[in-house]
Symmetry: C2
Subunit: 356 residues, 2 copies
């Protein structure tokens, strides 16, 4: 075998760390998704990832894993970690940078700095001060995207917003008969359950709540997760007997009726209600409000069925003002998926939150 060039080796191990970081099926906010790999001479000694609040950090998991396999001397090993090791003491778990120093690692490769401007770089500084060689920026874009929700929380003190829309190929969310037919196929709707698990709250408009009476929990294979429900407007349906209340608990439903601007409302959700990420599920009015207020970070579009036609009243994004191509909300697409020759899923970002 040819000797591998170092940047490629670094990327290969970091890719594994990134994939580990993304293991948790559910939202682990307010914590970041982090993965770590310990390697020496192109061999993996140990790996780990952070499972969420109250659980050990990825670095600790990786060190424990390596030690459980009999590795003790890390002086010739490299630690790959997708986020800068922490140095603060405010957490339930001990800080990682001092542990990395104590374990005598000679080199640490890091994808991204901590996005919180008050701590960014301090963990790295600590490592460097103790003589550890630190390389920053390996697969930085991928790592930033993985923690775009965490970054938004840290930097803007706002929940991360994912907009999900299911529509026909001509962009319509419904027909003129309030038909209850699904636009997308079963397989697409299973993906929606996974997306729900990734957010900690689901936003829905009163009309959709009244008409569809959706459960709004995340039904994963082998596990059903309750979500917080944010109900916008004045529903006619009784909340306590709704499927959403039965599935998630009546206390999980927060109703928002205020005339306060949307941005201020969702900031309050972040600051007072522990809402770190919101999946906006519908209908068109709510989707349009979030888009027009420039509050959407990530978009997951499902196009399905075919072409509906009609008189232009069921477009998924409608605004009262004149539309201008020069003032569009841009989309950077990162993923497309063809599902059963029937639906197409498109995932992209409207705002990009880099960690620095």
């Amino acid at each position: 075998m040819l000797a591998l060039v170092s940047p490629h080796v670094d990327e290969a191990f970091m890719r594994i760390a990134l994939s580990l970081a993304d293991s948790p099926r559910a939202c682990i906010l307010p914590n970041p998704r982090v993965g770590a790999v310990i390697a020496a001479n192109s061999k993996i000694w140990g790996s780990g990832f952070h499972r969420g609040p109250g659980n050990p950090h990825a670095e600790v998991e990786a060190i424990r894993d390596a030690e459980s396999k009999g590795y003790r001397d890390f002086s010739k090993a490299t630690l790959y970690v997708t986020l800068e090791p922490c140095c603060h003491l405010k957490k339930r778990t001990p800080p990682c940078a001092p542990l990395v120093i104590e374990k005598n690692f000679s080199r640490v490769v890091i994808s991204t700095k901590d996005p919180n401007p008050e701590v960014a770089g301090k963990g790295i500084k600590l490592l460097k001060k103790s003589g550890i060689s630190v390389d920053l920026g390996c697969l930085e874009l991928e790592a930033s995207e993985l923690n775009s929700a965490f970054s938004k929380n840290q930097i803007q003190k706002l929940p991360y917003v994912i907009l999900k829309v299911a529509m026909t190929y001509d962009g319509k969310m419904a027909d003129d008969f309030n038909s209850s037919q699904w636009i997308t196929c079963d397989a697409s709707r299973s993906i929606v359950q996974e997306i729900r698990a990734r957010a900690d709250a689901i936003a829905i408009g009163a009309r959709t709540f009244d008409v569809d009476n959706p459960s709004l929990n995340a039904r994963l294979p082998g596990e059903t997760l309750k979500r917080k429900i944010i109900l916008f407007g004045n529903p006619k349906r009784r909340i306590s007997t709704s499927k959403a209340a039965k599935s998630n608990g009546a206390e999980s439903i927060l109703t928002l009726r205020s005339k306060t601007p949307l941005r201020a409302q969702i900031r309050q959700l972040y600051l007072k209600q522990n809402v770190h990420s919101i999946l906006v599920e519908g209908g068109a009015k709510l989707a349009s409000s979030f888009l027009a207020s420039k509050l959407v970070d990530e978009v997951i579009l499902f196009y399905g069925r075919g072409f509906l036609g009609g008189r232009g009243t069921h477009g998924f994004f409608q605004t009262p003002m004149k539309a201008s191509l020069s003032k569009m909300i841009p989309l950077r697409v990162v993923e497309t998926k063809l599902i059963n020759e029937q639906d197409v899923m498109i995932r992209g970002f409207t705002n990009v939150h880099r960690t620095h």
Copy 2:
């Protein structure tokens, strides 16, 4: 190496024949796209494809290719051909089935019958009568899709219709300011040139003709192809000085202003004007007419830029009647392509024309 199982060998060679069949960049209608491979003992002796009217058929090309490499005795060879060899004498080229018999092939593998109901199966019958072993149906769906335009012509005596739409991710073709900005990126617009080459006529509405003054030729790398232009409605712009006339020749522009139903109009184009396939390029009114009249066979959607919003007046498919999910025009998607993280191309079929 393991001995390959025969159906897999057949599919492997037929896949090569299919890929050869699809070589011509430009429309070769009224003729079908056909490819042929001659193989024996898992080795390719020769291959060829049909280049269009007046050129040799794929079988002839493949036999010539094999003979030029010194092969003479085809009695142990198999001929793979994507369409049933012809047996009629009305063409400029001699019929292929008698040639295949004359060359003493022991086996012929065919994807699809000739879609023309008057000739379908006659070539196969001729081959079988002379003792050749014939297998029909290898990669039949792929071969049918490749010649969906040819089949439509043969069976329905109508041009094949491809609808191309470029729109925002919320399904709008234009904004409220008649902005001349492109919705899609350069790379997508190059793909549109290739799509134009594949049709023999481009349909456009008078308003788009007036506002955009498009050239409507097919600008391929190293080659620019003239197309027939079908202009619907009453243009204000003088045709003789339009870019479309300059690029394609004034005689290439056919104007249609009649109140006759669209289906009857395009049948006349097929019967009287040698129009075998039409690419409908815009605007929304023309696209909507073709869709609503169920005249569209294939759809190529480009989603680009982002989200426009507006008051619902620029949807690409609008109809005066109430919209009903149960009466939608279905789309079977066969291809998606992410272009520069910006645009998504989706290709699919609304009607499927099988060759039998």
